[in-house]
Symmetry: C2
């Protein structure tokens, strides 16, 4: 749909390729984070789809082919599902969307596994970003930092009001650098959300990552269409370099802007992040069905099956699956990787 | 075996009929507590068998028929397995053993699910008790209380040294009464361990619980023998009143003595009791294979399958099965029943 004045709705491009072990034992390669009902009853993927209802074009979903059944069951009418035969990181995924879309379409690149508590703030920022994107810019959405996180990349904004040019991208910094940026101001977390036309994406990929664009084009041309599903050609796609869009394009392009946005954003990148994003009950517990808490305060419990009973405990994260259990202080969330690696070793014995 | 001077080895009678929900979710009707490896790698039942090796006659094991396979696999050569078709409490179980045994045999009645850290102390007490039992007394083994427990029955001992007459049995008391008995001295916990000849048991059952003795005799006479197994007749056994031996006999008999015994005894009647009986590692954690503890202190973890990872937590009991998880402060162990009841309701939904 496009109006006679040339206006057309923005097409969300939902990147659903991640897996991640930081939410072990609930998230695994077979149960990726975006399909888990971590907050409330919806999965983060469903929450993402809901966010892009009225006013948006049907989404493109770029995902691994292993997740076809799960994603088809959830995708709305009109959605296109681009199934990758193997992982090639975000630049290749965005390149696929850019070559499949019409050149003039505005593509809103958005991860499938982030939480946005205030979607109205997001929509307002998208509207502020639209004229810049229509003018050929790549607009990034910058999250105002509230602490010197070392887990995110940062975007240094140039002078100005509203949508501002990007001075530089900063990869995940050491804590001293993060503290300095927080003190200085004008630095935003890079949430991996971008608005640009398909044509702009193609131009910038051509300029800075031509091999990625070329293999994406070949992989899409040789893809097999099956209703709403486009099965990307494995041989061509395998030739693509595997790079993040930040590394492949954003750090080089002169056409990047940033729109600061306040929207209650979290990447739910750890159990601590989920604790922070959760709304507890009167006792501060964030529980769900199948959990009993007697005389407990401030606990987060997630289970994908086992019944969980807590008695007289406080300030814990408890995560249960049928074959693994994690009990943790949330401020130790960065050590979950060690537990996940240990679990893999135990299972391999 | 009996010597020419009339001495014969004592026959242990191991009562393996219990189930119990106080160690939920690990113990259930299908996985009774005595078959669980709660301390180390042996189950409490195996520990009980080991305790009665050299110097004892082969044991009689009185158990529910549902556990036949498990118990047959563990029972030593020469053991007799008396399989009850239904639960009829301890008086009926002891009556079965008393009618199956020779009249002159000394039967040492012993639960299958208790822990005795110092078996030498137990053996010494058995030897002190033997002459009294040979003289026709029922000798109970009294545990010196170290706190005013309201979870055990008490035995009030009369004056004297060594084996003493019993003045009275006290059912599980309110805390004030328990404190008074502790302060007064001469009161012991009733561990449910008794030494008496088969003939004495028969006499006292005849005097105070004749229906129990009668149905046990009929049920044993009509039992079906199958190698080491005696399948007790269901119709006759069903007629037996269901009473504890304390209620049926001990509280009435004039022939009861008590031998105080110091043997590191625990009935492992709660997760707190298991914590108390466990020996922790250098960090005070009592773990087992398949458990990871990073920067943790003073935790007890038991799992019958799921891998369990703890990070940065202290002083917890964590129990995992494939379909239920308990996380608890051990001083809340008396509330496990609530969790077990909740679990049963959840499963029935």
């Amino acid at each position: 749909m496009s109006l006679s004045n040339g206006w057309r709705p923005i097409r969300p491009v939902i990147l659903a390729g991640g897996a991640g072990t930081r939410l072990w034992p609930l998230s695994t390669a077979a149960r990726p984070k975006h399909l888990l009902p971590l907050l409330g009853t919806q999965s983060l993927f469903e929450e993402t789809l809901t966010r892009f209802g009225d006013g948006f074009a049907p989404p493109m979903i770029v995902a691994n082919q292993a997740q076809e059944a799960d994603l088809r069951a959830l995708a709305p009418d009109g959605a296109q599902l681009l199934l990758e035969p193997m992982k090639r990181d975000s630049a290749a995924a965005i390149a696929l969307a850019a070559v499949v879309a019409d050149e003039g379409e505005l593509l809103l690149i958005c991860p499938s596994d982030h939480h946005i508590a205030e979607p109205d703030g997001f929509r307002a920022a998208i509207e502020r970003a639209r004229p810049e994107a229509e003018a050929g810019r790549i607009v990034t959405f910058g999250i105002e930092p509230d602490h010197p996180s070392t887990g995110f990349g940062y975007i240094a904004a140039g002078a100005g009001e509203g949508v501002r040019p990007v001075v530089r991208f900063v990869e995940k910094p050491p804590v001293e650098r993060a503290e300095a940026m927080l003190a200085e101001g004008g630095h935003y977390w890079n949430a991996g959300i971008f608005l640009a036309s398909a044509g702009t994406w193609r131009d910038e990929l051509q300029a800075f990552a031509p091999e990625i664009l070329k293999s994406a084009r070949e992989a899409a041309e040789q893809a097999v269409a099956d209703g709403p599903v486009l099965r990307i050609d494995a041989e061509a796609f395998a030739r693509s370099p595997s790079q993040s869009i930040d590394y492949a394009v954003m750090e080089h392009s002169e056409r990047v802007s940033v729109v600061p946005v306040s929207m209650g954003w979290s990447d739910i990148g750890s159990w601590q992040a989920l604790v922070d994003a959760s709304i507890g009950d009167a006792d501060g517990n964030a529980l769900h069905d199948g959990v009993l808490a007697l005389d407990c305060r401030g606990n987060l419990v997630r289970s994908n099956g086992p019944k969980v009973a807590l008695i007289g405990v406080e300030g814990l994260v408890v995560v249960a699956t049928h074959d693994a259990v994690l009990v943790m202080r949330p401020d130790q969330a960065q050590r979950v990787r060690e537990a996940s690696d240990w679990y893999d070793r135990e299972k391999a014995r």
